[in-house]
Amino acid sequence: MQDKIKLEICCGTTCYMLGAAELMTIEDTLPDAWKDRVDVFAIPCMDLCTREDIGRAPFVRIDGEVMGNATLETVHRALSKLLPIEPEEV
């Protein structure tokens, strides 16, 4: 069994207003094959919104790697690099 991927979502004010509210529903959008492979956590605040070098809120962290301007789509894309959906066995 592989280690689960840790997906952390910032719930701070700025992130929440700029899209974290939607990101927090990501569990509902994960393909079944990923559901047991990703652990989603809400973080009160990552204190990243005042940093200008790493993008804009909302922020997530995927296995410790910070990602700015996060949307459901970009997070899915980032996860897909770590979790390719294996083709169903024929």
């Binding site: 004010t13 700025t14 929440y16 700029l18 927090m24 529903t25 009160p44």
Partner: protein, 396 residues
């Protein structure tokens, strides 16, 4: 600290004479001397309905104003009695009163009674007699005797006073030939307090008033029923910490306030929560399942050994707005949890870090965020003015 001064919980229950649209008793209270003095007045107007209410309301209004301005009581009572309109039917003007004038810091109180059933002071279940009681009679109104009692309220004491709709309840029925009387009301209150030692003023006043009503034939209000309870108790302290301290070196002193000294602690703000978890070596648990029911605010979380954690500015703005409009039926979970804690507390200690999050001032944000200090000022104002909470403000 205000948490050391006992809190005055003052509530009343009033039931209106059957068939009348207005209660013939009136109750009013006010704070005087910068909030250090509680003055409460209950009056029972002659008869029932609008006419009685008018007499009672004139009496409470005048008595309250005279007391606030420290007018001599005999002269005040004479003015009240001279002013009341004369009843066409009975050719007299009459309204009883009970005035309670108490210094909130010391519990020293004076009760002035004219015509109402005598007050009850309870320490737990034990009745406490006044240490001084004297009678005062006006030369012009010799039949209207006033009793002035001096008493000392200790933390945990209750003062109960009522209109004769309570003591005369059940009058003429088999069990209560002479009514419930003061002794019946006293026994009932003692029994209730024995069962529920921390019973609130509101619950006790309601229990007494409704029990009185139930003693009447067919549970009717054959007279106006009013019961006032003043509960002089240890205040419940809620401490709200919000915002990071301006100087980082103050973080540990700030965080220490989350650990101790209040009955309940709420942390509003993600960065604030981070500072406190770091300093107190604890953690925050946010349940993502709450997202679906959290409404238009980020979901609340729990900090182990501390209390509730919510987002900061948006949540506090919502709480303040709901308090201002006196309605939080549709409030999101995070705000509603704070509002519930506020409702159950007497002293609200606001501990405010003043560091500004520059990202909050970004014009690209979809809505304007209030500056924390402005929200706190609004919150303080509404809590003090509309909800009679004691509020302290500490800036970091």
């Amino acid at each position: 600290m205000p948490g050391d001064t006992p809190f005055v919980e003052l509530e009343y229950c009033q039931l209106t004479h059957d068939g009348e649209c207005a209660c013939g008793d009136d109750f009013q209270w006010a704070l005087a001397d910068g909030g250090n003095r509680h003055i409460a007045v209950l009056s029972d107007g002659l008869g029932s309905g609008i006419k009685a209410h008018l007499l009672a309301n004139m009496t409470t209004t005048m008595a309250l104003e005279f007391m606030k301005s420290n007018k001599p009581i005999l002269r005040s009572a004479e003015i009240i009695m001279d002013s009341l309109p004369v009843c066409e039917v009975r050719k007299i003007s009459y309204a009883t009163f009970t005035i309670v004038d108490m210094l909130s810091a010391t519990g020293r109180a004076r009760v002035i009674e004219m015509g109402n059933p005598s007050y009850i002071q309870l320490r737990g279940e034990m009745e406490i007699p006044s240490f001084s009681r004297r009678e005062l009679v006006s030369e012009r109104w010799p039949d209207r005797k006033m009793d002035i009692s001096e008493l000392q309220m200790l933390t945990g004491d209750r003062l109960i006073f009522c209109s004769d709709g309570v003591t005369q309840a059940g009058l003429g029925t088999g069990v209560y030939k002479f009514g419930w009387r003061r002794s019946g009301c006293l026994a009932f209150a003692r029994e209730l307090i024995a069962r529920e030692p921390a019973i609130s003023a509101k619950d006790l006043s309601r229990a007494i008033a409704f029990n009185a009503m139930s003693l009447n034939k067919e549970h009717k209000c054959v007279d106006d029923i009013s019961c006032v309870v003043l509960y002089f108790r240890k205040p419940r302290v809620l401490r709200i910490l919000t915002g990071p301290p301006f100087h980082k070196e103050d973080d540990s002193a700030f965080a220490a306030l989350a650990a101790d000294g209040a009955d309940r602690v709420i942390i509003c703000g993600g960065t604030t929560a981070n500072i406190i978890t770091r300093e107190l070596h604890t953690r925050v648990e946010l349940d993502l399942k709450m997202v679906k029911v959290s409404g238009s605010l980020p979901p609340p979380g729990k900090m182990a050994n501390v209390g509730l954690v919510t987002e900061g500015i948006l949540t506090l703005t919502r709480v303040t707005t709901d308090l201002e409009r006196h309605n939080w039926d549709d409030s999101p979970v995070a705000a509603r949890e704070i509002l519930a804690a506020i409702e159950e507390s007497d002293v609200i200690e606001l501990v405010v870090g003043t560091k500004v999050n520059e990202a909050h001032q970004d014009p690209k944000l979809p809505i304007d965020l209030e500056i924390r200090r402005n929200i706190i000022r609004r919150l303080q104002t509404v809590l003090e003015n509309d909800y009679r909470k004691k509020v302290t403000l500490t800036y970091f």
